[in-house]
């Protein structure tokens, strides 16, 4: 690519010159400030993760209570064509969610960051505020919007635009729910990297007789790539594991991997199998993520 854009990698920010020697008192302060969040993470995150991993080798008592064990039965039970199909379906939904989120988030973030003027912060707040409401509540609201006699369809009927479309209980509704649920995680990082971008670069691109479209492709997009990649990851991961959207907005064939895992912990009474599924998902996602991060960072280095 023609223009060399100085993208600021996150680690650069830590390289401020050290101004003064830290006193041991200050270190103590930072150490104790760190202690609380560390303790919190260890107690509630790491240890529950450990329990999940241990349970994945466990079994259930006669009455369905999970107990630790040393069996690998749960993992061999995962080689089931049904589970693979669910995983692929979830993958397709999650990728569609990411693609739609990019298409929505980029123009929104761009408009706010470059043309928001003094309303920038207010506009960002307006986008974030709806997400203070619980995800579950917002999914229920979608149900009311999309149902056959819901707001959207009665609107269509009243304006004579058609006699209604079946929206609820289709794969589209599930993907729509996922996009609505997670799109903010795409908007914010893209907005942040657009905010940080040096606008004179765009002017420079124009001065060099680039069309607006080419300027966007060769200047703006590369400069905001870190935000874009971060946003894609932040949307993809929760979308892949989600079960609420499929449960509330889904149809007869939109069961996702998240629903499957949730089922094992609920009416399936099989926590060990559910734990094995969780562990397998985590391993698969870690592999995918490492591959993704390596690919994107090596591409960034090529610049």
């Amino acid at each position: 690519m023609a223009v060399d854009v100085p993208t600021r990698a996150p680690e650069d920010t830590g390289e401020r010159p050290r101004r003064r020697q830290r006193s041991s008192q200050r270190t103590w302060l930072w150490g104790s400030l760190l202690a609380l969040p560390t303790a919190w993470m260890v107690t509630f995150f790491v240890s529950s993760m450990v329990i999940v991993v241990l349970l994945s080798f466990g079994n259930t008592t006669r009455d369905g209570f999970p107990v630790f064990g040393t069996t690998t039965e749960n993992f061999s039970a995962l080689w089931d064509e049904v589970y693979l199909r669910l995983f692929l379906r979830s993958l397709v939904y999650a990728l569609a969610t990411v693609a739609l989120s990019v298409l929505i988030a980029y123009p929104v973030a761009y408009a706010i960051a470059l043309h928001g003027g003094r309303y920038k912060n207010a506009l960002i707040a307006a986008i974030v505020v709806p997400f203070f409401a619980s995800y579950l509540i917002r999914m229920y609201a979608w149900k009311a919007l999309l149902s056959d006699d819901g707001l959207v369809n009665s609107g269509l009927r009243n304006t004579g635009l058609g006699d209604g479309i079946e929206l609820l209980n289709t794969p589209w509704a599930v993907i729509g729910g996922l996009v609505y649920g997670f799109v903010v995680f795409m908007i914010l990082p893209i907005y942040a990297s657009l905010e940080r971008m040096d606008l004179s670069l765009i002017e420079a691109g124009k001065d060099l007789y680039h069309s607006p479209f080419r300027t966007f492709l060769t200047v703006t997009l590369p400069a905001t790539r870190p935000g874009l990649y971060g946003g894609m990851l932040l949307v993809f991961l929760p979308a892949l594991g989600d079960f609420v959207s499929a449960q509330l907005l889904g149809g007869s064939s939109t069961f996702m991997i998240g629903n499957l895992i949730q089922q094992q912990f609920a009416e399936g009474q099989n926590w060990p199998l559910g734990s094995a599924m969780t562990v397998a998902m985590m391993v698969a996602l870690t592999v995918l993520m490492v591959a993704y991060l390596r690919a994107t960072s090596s591409r960034a280095r090529e610049q």
């Binding site: 790491v46 450990v50 669910l86 509330l248 399936g268 009474q269």
Partner: protein, 376 residues
Amino acid sequence: MSGTAPSTTRRSLLRGGLALGAAATLPGCAYIRDEPPVSAPLPKSAKAEIDGDLVYFNWADYLDPKVVKGFQKEYGVKVIESNYDSMEGMYAKIAAGNQYDIVFPIAKWVVKMRREGKLRAIEANELANADQVFYSGSYFTDPWYDPKSRVTVPFTVYKTGIGWRTDKVSGMTGSWRDLWNPEGAGHIFTLDDQDEALAMAALLLDYDVNTAKASHLDEMRKLLISQKKVLRAYSSDDVNNMNGGGAWIHHMWSGDFMYLREGLVENKANYNFEAPQEGTPINSDTYAIPTNARHPGTAMLFIDYMLRPENAVKNINYLYYPMPVRDAVATFTDLAKEVPACDVDVTALENPDVFRLLSAKDVQRRTAAWTEVKAS
């Protein structure tokens, strides 16, 4: 970072963190245990007298809040409410040691919890209104799930059938086959509930509703998958699916249908309910007091208060679920007079189509079949 002081801090922090992590895994010990007892001794009944605020654990919105308020006022105690969204969730919390004074388990969970000694005896003589449910000849003096009614008081009874829109479909035959009715294609819903969905298929195939036989499950799976051609979705949100217009034919619970027809819709005549001839699953919810309850006396008074006919009437009019309280039975019969199929004859609890407590292996086999249905 430079200097020795910070690295020591970091190392000690790490060490402390690891120790904490190890300590925090201790609750995991709950998952090291033997097979559960099959018949634990029954903890003694409490006296019906106030011994503190009531810690109440129920499905959300499953009693008239006005009645609960009345109880607080009359006895000068607070009701501290928490909710569960599944029986498994309720059981897991109690098994983990959480203390509640009153819970509302479904019949087969009573079997499980009584067997494991998790429920306290309820002495009927302590309750002033006991004769409203335990009168002579009442089915509930010795229900199938709780011999001699030692640990529970009946709360509600209900059955599963089919609700439908009379303005949208006509050819209803009074069979579970109606859930395949081509007139309703794209507007048919089956309950997103393992037991209910499998029971529906089992009844059509003339199997036991609790079957876990591989050959039976295989046939049931095929039958349920064949429904997908006309099925809109699996969902337990039956009231909203019907009310939102998406559902024309819905596998649904009788109490939910009554609530929809009598409490929500404008044109009642457009809604009807049938109890299919192959048989209908009948179920009942109960009042029960966990063994580790801290205020069992208040819980006894609470149950007694709910059994007062005037309070039962209020609850029936709020919930639209029938309650076997003698002087309130007429209220429900009257409420259901236009849709008598919704009324539940309690003697029907004697029938074979009730959901029994199954072993974990059986449940897991049934789950596997149900998963395949939903995943296909």
